[in-house]
């Protein structure tokens, strides 16, 4: 290429600065999002992996059975580096006025365990010389402002036993403080973890270890070993076996990580597609308007390859200017996001690395998108017939009756000006299609992110209002009788109370097992709604067990099938599946008290009471009154959990706000370019209309109507595509932990559509302003405008 062509390229770009800036910004955003989200994903993955290796995070955890025998058996298995027993107990804690159902985990004194080590953040590790000294997990320590030297109480048997905080620790098992897979979301007022000397934990757990934690060579995951060990452990009476991947905290964090990974591809692809289409529209127009120049180039001896390279330059330049800084900003942002995230979640190890492949990949992504966009018009340019091009014979504009006039014949009688509007839509079908795709992509972006908010809001309402209808759960220090529960009704502010029994179980069918909790409810319970997958809201069946819908596929079972329910002590009963329920949080099992008592042949106690408040009750005062009762271990106010989730929603609003901004920018870039070209192509027509006496307002009205018509055509498609994209995104987050059934409020569709119309209106404003600057004498005299 010769230098004057370079100059021409730069001057052309300068002349169409707003359009090229729009393309460049869209490429920049796409590449930045890719760099930031993909490197964040890699950094977080590395942080989790390093944390797991550094603290010997168990590859497999076995609960129940003969722990000593299991430890002895698995210790011999090749590939197992460490296996050790420990005692874990869910017991009440008392901190001043607060009682909560916490977890005590036994650790050896004086030295860290081989598996599931902890990071001592403040204070000191456990010591044999301090048998009542404990380590508090940092989420609990932060919430209750616990520091070394502080004291609180743990319920041992029926007595409160005072312990002293020796240190505050972080643990790979509780980065996300989940009680179990069925209770992923907890509040610090209801759940906390304490690491105690093994002797104390044994005392709390009933005298014998109840868990075996196993670490493979170098901590590497090995499915074959896991499958083999699971079989061995079950043979020795284990009631629950879970891998690192299934471990509650890790599983919750994995969902988050998956989100980063998907975001790293989904959003950049959308942005780069939009940028590519905007570039295509712009460069095609340039080539069209420069046909005589191209003819002159070729006639004067430029090769077609030189012409091709020249017009590829119109893609290369915005591609480079957008993707180079985009990649750098993305990679730098990833560092901040990683640090922010690991700080927020208190991940013990933060790995922030430079991944050259991400940088190169991000630049390549941006360049490929912009070069691909330039390729088609550049090829057209290189194939221009020089003689015809120099004569200025551009292909004649197409004229035909619009589809809508053919479908609605009365429209053929519309004023000519409005027919011009209708036919303008089909005048350049490819550009119209690209503008529509721009609208569709923008709506997708908006609905995916906004749909997430609506879905979570809806799921929370369903979980905490329609399913969990109790206002609070009262946990007893030891199994209580139904009459103990009834006594709660004597307390002012308690409108109703139902006994409930929660037992950990393993559901077995077709050779598969699923560990969960079985909730025994009153036969005519009014505290828990059951939403059947097939029948809508149902009453608790008299016979059979009701299971969470995830078990359907996990255990390959249907309604009417028999399942084995194995309790923690190894006792097994068989029951029939009465129904599957759709619950947003967790995958629980439910059974009526009469059915459970019939199966076990005994009268069952209550581990908790589900209570409903009287109208106008002071819930804080009621909480204090009930917590003071000696038989009460903890009081869980359902509203506190609900409010906590609502607070998390603020983060989602921020996320959606950013995505709306980005979606708006993307829509603006594409619609702005399409509309600018649309108006530029009409310059001669506009000038002619002005010359014959049409006023500028009317012309602006016609152009606006045409542009809005195109935007409006994209909206229904965008809403449908956006719905399915959002559904797919929500499905990818669904598991047995969360059932993310997409729900989008009707008003969301309306607001999203209005937002797009607004962006389209704003996008055409610069073009409409240009109409005011049109010089009629110059334009009408030009051969081709």
């Amino acid at each position: 290429m010769v230098k004057p062509l370079h100059r021409k390229l730069l001057r052309d770009i300068r002349r169409h600065r707003p359009q090229f800036i729009a393309i460049t910004i869209t490429i920049f955003l796409g590449v930045t999002i890719f760099g930031a989200s993909y490197d964040s994903f890699q950094n977080l993955q590395a942080s989790y992996d390093t944390t797991a290796t550094e603290y010997h995070f168990a590859n497999l955890t076995v609960v129940g059975g003969d722990s000593d025998a299991i430890e002895a058996a698995v210790g011999e298995v090749p590939g197992v580096e460490f296996a050790e027993t420990r005692a874990t107990a869910d017991v009440p804690f008392r901190l001043d006025d607060t009682k909560l159902l916490g977890r005590a985990v036994g650790l050896p004194t004086d030295s860290q365990p081989d598996v599931n080590q902890v990071e001592v953040l403040t204070g000191e590790y456990l010591s044999s010389s301090d048998p009542s000294g404990v380590l508090v997990e940092e989420h609990m320590a932060d919430h209750f402002a616990l520091q070394p030297g502080d004291r609180f109480e743990i319920m041992s048997g029926t007595e409160w036993e005072a312990v002293t905080v020796r240190g505050v620790v972080a643990s790979p098992e509780y980065i996300w403080p989940a009680r179990d897979r069925q209770e992923i979301i907890t509040t610090p007022d209801n759940f906390g973890v304490v690491f105690t000397p093994e002797t104390l934990a044994l005392e709390l757990a009933g005298g014998t270890p109840n868990e075996v934690v196993i670490y493979y060579n170098d901590g590497a995951e090995n499915e074959d070993i896991s499958v083999g060990l699971t079989e061995d452990a079950r043979a020795l009476g284990a009631t629950s076996v879970f891998t690192r991947e299934e471990q509650p905290s890790n599983a919750a964090l994995s969902e988050d990580l998956k989100g980063f990974e998907e975001m790293a591809l989904f959003f950049p692809i959308m942005f780069l597609t939009a940028a590519g289409m905007a570039a295509y529209v712009m460069i095609s127009r340039l080539v069209h308007s420069q046909r005589p120049n191209i003819g002159v180039f070729i006639a004067n001896g430029f090769t077609r390859r030189q012409v091709l390279r020249h017009y590829l330059g119109y893609g290369l330049i915005p591609g480079l200017i957008g993707s180079l800084p985009g990649a750098i900003v993305g990679v730098l942002l990833a560092r901040s996001i990683t640090r922010l995230y690991t700080d927020l979640l208190a991940i013990p190890v933060t790995v922030v690395e430079f991944y050259p492949a991400t940088l190169l990949g991000a630049v390549a992504f941006g360049l490929v998108a912009s070069l691909l966009a330039a390729l088609a018009p550049a090829l057209v340019a290189s194939r221009v017939p020089p003689a015809a091009a120099m004569r200025g014979e551009t292909p004649a504009g197409r004229g035909r009756t619009s589809l809508v006039e053919r479908l609605v014949p009365p429209l053929r009688k519309a004023p000519a000006a409005w027919k011009m509007v209708l036919r303008g839509v089909g005048r350049n079908p490819r550009r119209t299609v690209y503008t529509i795709i721009g609208v569709v992509l923008s709506l997708m972006l908006v609905l995916v992110s906004w749909g997430m908010i609506d879905t979570i809001q809806n799921l929370m309402d369903r979980q905490f209002v329609e399913i969990q209808q109790e206002d609070a759960t009262v946990y007893f220090t030891e199994p209580a009788s139904t009459s103990d529960v009834a006594e709660l009704l004597n307390i002012e502010g308690v409108a109703s109370a139902e006994p409930a029994l929660t037992v950990p179980i393993s559901i077995g069918a077709n050779g598969e097992h699923y560990e969960t909790a079985l909730l025994v409810l009153e036969d005519q319970t009014e505290m828990h709604g059951l939403l059947s997958v097939t029948e809508g809201w149902i009453d608790l069946p008299d016979q059979g067990v009701v299971l969470g819908q995830a078990t359907q596929s996990l255990l390959n079972i249907s309604v009417g099938d028999s399942v084995e329910l194995t309790l923690a002590d190894g006792a097994t009963v068989t029951d029939t599946v009465a129904a599957f329920v759709d619950e947003p949080l967790g995958t629980m099992a439910y059974i009526s008290r009469s059915e459970a008592e019939a199966l076990t042949g005994t009268q069952l106690p209550a581990t908790s009471a589900l209570i409903a408040y009287s109208d106008g009750v002071d819930s804080a005062a009621l909480r204090n009154t009930i917590t003071e009762l000696p038989q009460v271990a903890a009081f869980e106010d359902a509203n506190v959990l609900y409010d906590m989730v609502q607070q998390y929603m603020v983060l989602f609003y921020a996320f959606v706000g950013i995505m709306l901004l980005f979606g708006g920018a993307m829509a603006f870039a594409l619609i702005f370019n399409s509309m600018s070209v649309n108006i530029a192509e009409r310059t001669r027509e506009v000038a002619t209309l002005l010359a014959v006496g049409t006023d500028r307002r009317s012309i602006s009205k016609y152009i606006t109507a045409e542009n809005m018509l195109v935007a409006a055509m994209g909206i229904p498609i965008g809403l449908v595509v956006g719905y399915f994209a959002a559904k797919s995104a929500m499905n990818s987050f669904s598991s047995d932990l969360f059932a993310m059934d997409l729900y989008i409020k009707p008003t969301t569709y309306l607001w999203a559509s209005l937002a797009i119309i607004l962006v389209a209106l704003v996008s055409q404003w610069p073009g409409l302003r240009a109409i005011r600057r049109i010089s009629i004498p110059e334009i009408v005299k030009e051969r081709s405008a």
């Binding site: 004649a396 011009m420 006496g693």
Partner: protein, 234 residues
């Protein structure tokens, strides 16, 4: 008097780069007169036409057309002046490609009358396109397109018809036919016509011939025996 110009200057640019497209033009154009303006490129022909059509402003001087002082018009009045008084015929036709011949004419007819479609059809019949009125511009020959453009200019029945190189894109036969049409129709409608061309032979059909050079009128000839357009040769 339909057109009156006195001491009109049009200057592009300023200072050393200033170019005087028109210099001190004095001109009167009585109603119904067919004037051909001749001159080489850059002589100011089109500029003169643009000033009368109010699609450009004079730098200095007085222009009155159809009884209106053009310098006194605001934006809306200028639009109204063009809408009611001026018809344009351009060299490159400038038709809207997405509208049929009829609709192109109707578009302009709608600006001034309620029964636009009817009137547009009448005018197209008059210019000999009765059987082509539902064709799109791309389906018409150059001559036909120019006839549509003329129909578009005539449909408002403006007192002033401004034609800028109307035969520039046409072959000899078609060019003669278009000129004949213009002469015939403008005579019927008693229109004042200013026709710009660099083709001196066309002057033979005019009532009056103005010759411009470097922005000045260098000749103003009366033609008492204009020939029919069909008799022109070049």
């Amino acid at each position: 008097m339909t057109i009156k110009m006195a001491g009109v200057w049009k200057t592009f640019g300023e200072g050393h780069t200033a170019v005087h497209a028109l210099r001190d033009i004095d001109l009167t154009g009585p109603q119904g007169e067919f004037t051909v303006i001749l001159g080489p490129s850059g002589s100011g022909k089109t500029t003169l036409l643009n000033l009368v059509g109010a699609i450009d402003d004079a730098t200095e001087g007085y222009i009155e057309a159809a009884g209106v002082d053009l310098a006194e018009l605001d934006i809306d009045e200028t639009v109204r002046y063009r809408r009611e008084n001026v018809g344009f015929v351009f060299q490159f036709f400038n038709l809207i490609p997405t509208l049929t011949a009829l609709e192109n004419v109707e578009l302009v007819a709608d600006l001034t009358a309620a029964n636009g479609a009817e009137r547009a059809a009448e005018v197209l019949e008059r210019v000999g396109l009765g059987d082509r009125m539902n064709h799109f511009p791309a389906q018409l020959s150059g001559g036909e397109q120019q006839r549509v453009a003329i129909a578009r200019a005539l449909v408002k029945q403006p007192p002033i018809l401004l034609c800028d190189e109307p035969t520039g894109e046409l072959d000899f036969e078609t060019g003669r036919m278009i000129l004949d049409l213009l002469r015939r129709v403008s005579r019927e409608l008693k229109q004042t016509v200013l026709l710009v061309t660099h083709n001196a032979a066309i002057g033979d059909m005019a009532d009056r011939v103005l010759k411009l050079r470097s922005g000045e009128i260098v000749d103003d000839l009366r033609n008492d025996h204009p020939v029919a357009a069909t008799e022109l040769t070049w």
